[in-house]
Symmetry: C2
Subunit: 167 residues, 2 copies
């Protein structure tokens, strides 16, 4: 099952390397990893999506929590979180049925951002699985290239992962 | 100036650590870094945004291009690229003017994704600077927490960064 872990770390050189090093040494099966700044420039938020059962998740959280740079860490259950990823997909546009193409764009809530002579670039937004399904739907037109951010998540409701001095 | 570098790497354990290790050892001033899968499961796309002049960018590209795992690397000029980031912003919702709040949401093309008792979570999409400006506009309501993906980019038009066997 896809699980989402969110954590707040010090925004310092080397932190990402320590985190990703731990991930690869332990052989965790990571689906996506994103790093973004928070409203406090001293802190970054890392979101990891991975396939794992309860015991692995428990182990991951314990391992990461040991790292000095990790200020807070928590699993965000998928049914209790707001989860989003963005993908840019450049699709072939030669000899395609444009009406059919725009129907796929609209049915997947896509946004056309750029049109080349032979390609069209579409923005897709949603969860990882929603974007995977959407990309499948575009495959018949031919995928030229893809850029995906990986997924971010916030817990639903009023919770706050890390109550730093700045909050 | 903010510059965007996109590269295609082997999707193997340890690659992210080698890349982020090089970044931190060289002291590059990274604004954002994203890693996402491509349509070929053997390859990932990394997008780095950094403040740098031409000579630094040249040096960065040369350094990364030396790494065995890097299949292709290119700067994406901001005026010749489609650039997007997604941010989830949890904003205070107690004692605020809801009409004013929704005006800010709509003026920044935001989407309300979740409403707690005391907070509202808004999705923002755009370039890094657009999202920075949008977050500024929400500050008067009180920011509770933020999750940002970092920016991804595809070159405008029909270009393709890496022509692998799968294309």
């Amino acid at each position: 099952m896809q699980r989402v872990i969110s954590f707040i770390v010090s925004n310092q050189p080397g932190v990402l390397c320590r985190i990703s090093g731990l991930v690869s040494r332990r052989g965790f099966n990571i689906e996506s990893l994103t790093v973004g700044v928070t409203d406090d420039p001293a802190l970054s938020r890392i979101t990891i999506v991975m396939f794992a059962d309860d015991s692995v998740i428990e182990q991951v959280i314990k391992q990461f929590d040991k790292l000095l740079d990790v200020k807070a860490i928590k699993e965000i259950p998928r049914d209790k979180g707001t989860l989003r990823e963005i993908a840019l997909v450049k699709v072939g546009a030669v000899g395609i049925d444009r009406k059919d193409f725009m129907e796929v764009v609209n049915s997947r809530w896509g946004v056309v951002l750029d049109m080349g002579e032979h390609t069209t670039t579409v923005q897709l937004t949603g969860t990882i699985s929603y974007i995977n399904e959407s990309i499948e739907a575009f495959k018949k037109f031919g995928i030229v290239e893809i850029a995906r951010t990986g997924m971010v998540a916030l817990e639903s409701g009023d919770t706050q992962l890390y109550k730093g001095d700045d909050y």
